[in-house]
């Protein structure tokens, strides 16, 4: 579904990603871990199409199409979803209204007819249960005055509404208490199908207890320096990142 080959990206002249290679197949969950500043969030942003990053080398093929050629909204319509680490506030625009615009633009792109208000509401009601989100929250201004947990739940709710093929969760666990973590992850798990894939970007192993990955990759200095099964996450939890750093540095000398 997604093939990343030798991806290099920089911002303001600083190279952050220095040759990423990754293959994600339908039905898989990949976890991207790594210490602060290793380029995890940059990878998520580059895949979603943030334009302040300059791509100097490499390619990203998503379902046979060149992802890097597409505008951010096209990527979204093609089925790439990013759950933001810091969801953005839009005053005066309710989540409902926002999502209705989004869902209908995505549907139009996919050749489906727009949902009318009634249909949209019934779809919404159904998806709301997945993340135990309250309708009152959805009629408030998008993310404005939401708690950390509400914001993240709202991200997953949007994911449910947009039905993406590839979901990228950027530190969705940050700022969540244990209950919220459970609700958010169970939402993600329920949305998983054999046709979709998930990339989970996280610092901590704790999220991976709930969203169990098929593969764990460790990002360091803009490169994937180690890949393994879910046990790798446990090993990192226990031993920290230093041994990875050492390994990586001795390998590069």
């Amino acid at each position: 579904m997604l093939t990343i080959k030798n991806l290099h990206a920089s911002i303001e002249g600083n190279e952050i990603l220095r040759g990423i290679n990754l293959e994600v197949k339908a039905g898989e969950v990949h976890a991207i871990m790594g210490p602060n500043g290793s380029g995890k969030s940059t990878l998520a942003s580059v895949l979603a199409g943030r334009e302040e990053y300059e791509i100097s080398e490499g390619e990203v093929i998503f379902q046979g199409k060149d992802l890097l050629e597409m505008a951010p909204e096209e990527r979204a319509r093609e089925g790439v979803f990013l759950a933001f680490q810091y969801p953005v506030e839009i005053p005066g625009v309710s989540t409902t209204n926002f999502l209705r615009t989004a869902v209908n633009q995505v549907r139009e792109y996919r050749g489906k007819e727009a949902l009318d208000a009634v249909k949209f509401l019934s779809v919404m009601k159904e998806k709301m249960k997945l993340v135990e989100i309250d309708q009152k929250l959805l009629s408030r201004s998008l993310n404005e005055g939401f708690s950390g947990g509400e914001k993240k739940r709202n991200e997953i709710f949007q994911m449910a509404m947009l039905e993406p093929t590839l979901s990228i969760l950027d530190e969705t666990d940050s700022g969540l208490d244990i209950d919220a973590l459970r609700i958010v992850s169970s939402g993600v798990n329920k949305l998983k199908t054999p046709q979709t894939a998930t990339i989970v970007v996280t610092h901590y192993q704790r999220l991976l207890d709930y969203i169990v990955p098929d593969y764990v990759h460790v990002l360091y200095n803009g490169k994937i320096v180690k890949s393994g099964s879910k046990e790798l996450a446990l090993e990192l939890e226990e031993k920290g990142y230093d041994w990875i750093k050492e390994e990586a540095e001795s390998a590069s000398v």
Partner: protein
């Protein structure tokens, strides 16, 4: 150029869609401004002697006045002697009803999306259509008159209800009020008149649609709304003009007189031609709008969505004379390209326990300058009066300006006056967030701007609100970047 600016730029470079004009045979006054022209207009309209005298007095007052220069706008002066002060489409006979109005004129309004055909009209709105200097037709006149409501062109009111016109004309905006009001008083040609009798709740929205078609003419219309005790009316005003290279002057006066317990809601969606992308052409909109809450417990509410005009100079105001009277001002003013707007309100608290509320949302894009100018005055007698003002500015791009000039004058220590102000920018983050959900940039900006202006748009009658939302999006199309 940052991405923000690039998107903004694309978004604000949309063309004006009402820029067409129609050729029709017109009955015009010769160019120039003098007492003979005023006499010519007055006789053309077969006015009574007192009105001619009133006009001449206004003209003489105006001669001694100077064009105001305190507003935060720059523009080449209008050569008032080069303008024509009267232009009316020639109609063979004076139409007695809408059926007799020249279909060609009705088509102008059809093209603007305003049907003057009562059968086809959307339910619930009566329209008075003003083309250049005259009213071409008023809908639903008969059904309204059954309730005693008078809704007609100003000229007709002068003929049919001279006693009312004479009583209220100039009672809120006196001829000496300001330069443009004095000029308007001398040369005004038509406009709308509306009278709601005691205890009547007007069952439909009343509206005036102003269209400037002729070149080199000024439009000077006059609107007078009188709400008797315990009555209610909601009034709408819309405006467009053709796209012309030269600037055109629109200097209107609106007066509202609200008696005890009455309520008048006045909504404007102003979409005059704003000039092209390089700032060429466009309407000068120098307008005086004022209402008086003359009776106790009366209420006047102004809502305006200002998207057009090259230069705007406009301060819909309330004089809160009656005790417990309420004044409101809700405004969204959008400026783009080289537009300049200096707009706001005045709330004059005279009566006891009077309340006013000001919500102003400015949006500046391109190279435009957008100023809020507001005055809150609490007189000695106005015990326990209250004002709340909120002035927000939204900037799109880094070449435009937003300014706030609040004046507060309090002469009674029991008054409570609050003022809040914010300035924000449409962030790249917000746009990217929308993009990531599949919303393209243009719709993203429209969504964000409409969200920002929501508090004001909510004040508009339903159909108008939808129009206004679309207009906001159109005005800003091509401006994000």
């Amino acid at each position: 150029m940052s991405k923000d600016n690039q998107i903004l730029e694309e978004f604000t470079s949309k063309e004006y869609e009402h820029g067409w004009s129609v050729n029709y045979e017109a009955d015009e006054a010769p160019a120039g401004l003098n007492e003979d022209i005023i006499r010519w207009i007055s006789s053309k309209k077969e006015e009574p002697e007192w009105l001619l005298e009133w006009r001449l007095k206004a003209f003489r007052t105006w001669l001694d006045m100077k064009e105001p220069e305190w507003a935060n706008v720059k523009y080449p002066k209008v050569d008032l002697q080069a303008l024509k002060y009267y232009s009316a489409p020639k109609q063979k006979n004076k139409p007695k009803s809408l059926d007799e109005v020249d279909p060609e004129l009705l088509q102008i309004y059809e093209r603007l999306g305003i049907s003057l055909n009562e059968q086809k009209k959307l339910q619930g709105i009566a329209v008075d259509a003003v083309l250049d200097s005259v009213s071409v037709g008023t809908t639903f006149k008969e059904s309204l008159s059954k309730l005693g409501i008078i809704f007609c062109s100003f000229s007709e009111a002068v003929q049919e209800h001279p006693e009312l016109v004479q009583k209220y004309l100039g009672s809120v905006v006196p001829i000496s009020d300001n330069y443009y009001a004095a000029l308007n008083s001398a040369v005004f040609s038509d406009g709308s008149f509306c009278y709601i009798p005691k205890g009547v709740r007007c069952p439909m929205e009343l509206s005036t649609y102003f269209r400037i078609n002729a070149a080199n003419t000024g439009q000077f219309e006059r609107t007078l709304i009188v709400a008797e005790e315990g009555s209610y009316v909601s009034y709408l005003e819309g405006c467009t003009a053709p796209q012309r290279d030269e600037n055109q002057l629109h200097a209107a006066v609106v007066e509202i007189y609200a008696e005890k317990n009455s309520e008048v809601k006045y909504s404007t969606v102003q979409n005059w031609f704003p000039g092209d992308k390089d700032g060429k052409g466009g309407i000068y909109n120098f307008v005086t709008k004022r209402g008086i809450c003359a009776g106790d417990y009366s209420k006047i509410s102004w809502t305006q969505v200002e998207t057009g005009s090259a230069v705007t100079w406009k301060y819909p105001s309330c004089i809160l004379k009656g005790d417990y009277s309420v004044g409101e001002f809700y405004s969204v003013a959008v400026t783009n390209n080289y537009q300049q707007a200096d707009t706001g309100t005045k709330m004059i608290h005279i009566g006891k326990n009077t309340k006013s509320r000001i919500v102003s949302k400015g949006i500046s894009a391109g190279y435009s300058q957008n100023s809020y100018r507001g005055q809150v005055q609490v007189m000695k007698r106005a015990v326990n009066s209250r004002n709340f003002s909120q002035c927000d500015s939204l900037l799109m791009g880094d070449k435009c300006g937003a300014h706030t000039f609040p004046y507060i004058d309090i002469q009674n220590s029991s008054a409570k006056v609050e003022h809040e102000a914010t300035t924000s920018k449409i962030g790249e983050d917000q746009i990217f967030y929308c993009n990531q959900r599949g919303i393209d940039t243009e719709d993203a900006v429209a969504l964000i701007v409409n969200g920002y202006a929501k508090e004001v748009l909510n004040q508009l009658p339903m159909e108008f609100a939808v129009e206004a939302q679309k207009l906001l999006a159109l005005t800003l199309e091509g401006s994000v970047g």
